[in-house]
Symmetry: C2
Subunit: 125 residues, 2 copies
Amino acid sequence: MATSARRGPYFCGIDAAMDVVAGKWKSLILWELHNHGTRRFAELRRGLPGVSEKMLIQHLREMEEDGLVHREVHREVPPKVEYSLTEHGVSLNAALASLGKWGTERIRRIGAEKVSVDVAGAVLR
Amino acid sequence: MATSARRGPYFCGIDAAMDVVAGKWKSLILWELHNHGTRRFAELRRGLPGVSEKMLIQHLREMEEDGLVHREVHREVPPKVEYSLTEHGVSLNAALASLGKWGTERIRRIGAEKVSVDVAGAVLR
DNA sequence: AGGCCTACTTACCTCCAGGTGAGTACCTGA
DNA sequence: TCAGGTACTCACCTGGAGGTAAGTAGGCCT
């Protein structure tokens, strides 16, 4: 997975899209922002059990650079930063929908477990 | 990218699909097999400029394990091995289509270069 | 005789994605 | 007074993805 910037040259469209989605948590961030519309940093962290603060910020910054995510800082104390999907983020998420469907079908097929999260936010496997 | 086996637990369908597609060359192998139907090992290698033999085999074996690729050995001399997509490989490729479309649009948007291959097979950037 | 084709296998190495844990600056509630 | 919440930043480390190069075994071409 390339967290480092590539931005081409690409072999094809899939290559270009994968370059943007590659990263352990990016598709999940996309999904989380899609489901909740707008989320604060700590909300995202809690929504993605297991993510480290460093990676979450790194991914968010890259997705902002790639024009997928909008970052809005409210100058308050305590600090408040809100993340949401841009138009391109929304369309990427839509493009990922069919892939998600295929993946869900695969989970069913191979009988893989799903990560579930309990009320406290701890990961159960 | 996980070349190592995960096969769950997964957060969601996208996670499960990404697990299977993750790997520098996997989506390109999928595309190549989709375009040509059946390809021999050396044909794939030539079709993916820059891939190493080790990675190509590794990816093909994993995709075979994941039920995406069918491997057929013809006991001949010289050896002849043919790779093709299974039903699941075909459906995954179909699910990747919308992502590919998004990526193509992104390439256009940011004006990234595409890798082109000349007749001899050398990569031009 | 020597090189090239087929499809691999094996050993070794590098680099970086991602994890860990601490530090920052400010405010709130117990 | 001190823990805890806000949103980060920084330094360090490890595991594994992926690259490089050589070896294998049989047959064909020159």
